[in-house]
Symmetry: C2
Subunit: 179 residues, 2 copies
Amino acid sequence: MTEKQELILVTALRLFAEKGFDTTPTSLIAKEAGVSEGLIFRHFTNKDGLMDAIVAMSEERLSANAERILQLSNPIDQIHATLELPVKLFQEEREFWMLQFSLKWQKKYKNQTYTPSPAHLKVIQALTDGFRALGYAQPEQEVKILMMLLDGFSHQLALSPSPEYIETTLAFLKSKYPN
Amino acid sequence: MTEKQELILVTALRLFAEKGFDTTPTSLIAKEAGVSEGLIFRHFTNKDGLMDAIVAMSEERLSANAERILQLSNPIDQIHATLELPVKLFQEEREFWMLQFSLKWQKKYKNQTYTPSPAHLKVIQALTDGFRALGYAQPEQEVKILMMLLDGFSHQLALSPSPEYIETTLAFLKSKYPN
DNA sequence: AAGTTTTGTAAGTGATTACTCACTTTCATT
DNA sequence: AATGAAAGTGAGTAATCACTTACAAAACTT
């Protein structure tokens, strides 16, 4: 990975997040990255290849976060860490995750039967076990709800990232576990 | 609203939902609708105007559903009806609502400070009152959570609309209210 | 230092696309 | 039936875009 290669990636990420994939011309990416347009195609074959390279990074980052959650021994800690995840992600790399979420609704990635990553599945399993250990009657369903809350919370964070909102909402969400 | 005008609208809706706004050429809309391409611009000025016309329909449909919820007298019924809303919407007009949800992530509608519709605000208020009447300590926060669940649930419905999944999940969600 | 591979550039190019325009047809009103 | 407005057509067109290609510079290998 050369210096310019990485420059192209971070520039494309920023522009895709700002303007969307389809409305960001490769010429603009090249211009903002300060490289020739041809270089993009030399390194990433085509525009889709560029997007694929960006998406590939997301798997790594999610794995790292999943590992962190799995290492917590207390189930309640795991649940709370899961709830904190969106806040954490958006604070650290807002545009990157905005792009990830918006991708879920794009045709290209919508139809290729969405398969959760191994890391994701491991967290699901750990949370299910956790809910069971805590005495919840339907642990699988509880995890589903938790995942929905995660989705919805991320959505809210993406649209209105006011700090007070985040703090009070997160605190209230946590207060629901255990119940 | 002439016959062809409506044909253009429903065709554009379908294609935008299937392929996305940016990747659907007006020439294809015209072809599939069986009209000349020029007619699109005669009636809707430009491609954005076409999208605006589609979005305008969503406000009406949401209002109708909001009214239905508001007419329920029992707060629990209101909450349950709210939870049923995504299922209802997706069953009736799947592609229309898929498009609506994907729009939330598109630049054009993302930045223009998202303002909830009057109907939406009225439902929020009614739900808040409902939670208070049911003795919940923090009704505003409860409504926030309910809205997150709605978002997350819609998301799940959009990605994997298996009937069993829908039924059991909806039942479990409802069982959480009242608690 | 010579040779080879990799990285990088600049100037295209063909295809696509949103939109226009000159024109015709349909329709409502008198 | 005449007229004016609205609906509808279809053949452009200028601009944009993803991608190619011929070539040069840099870096790595021996």
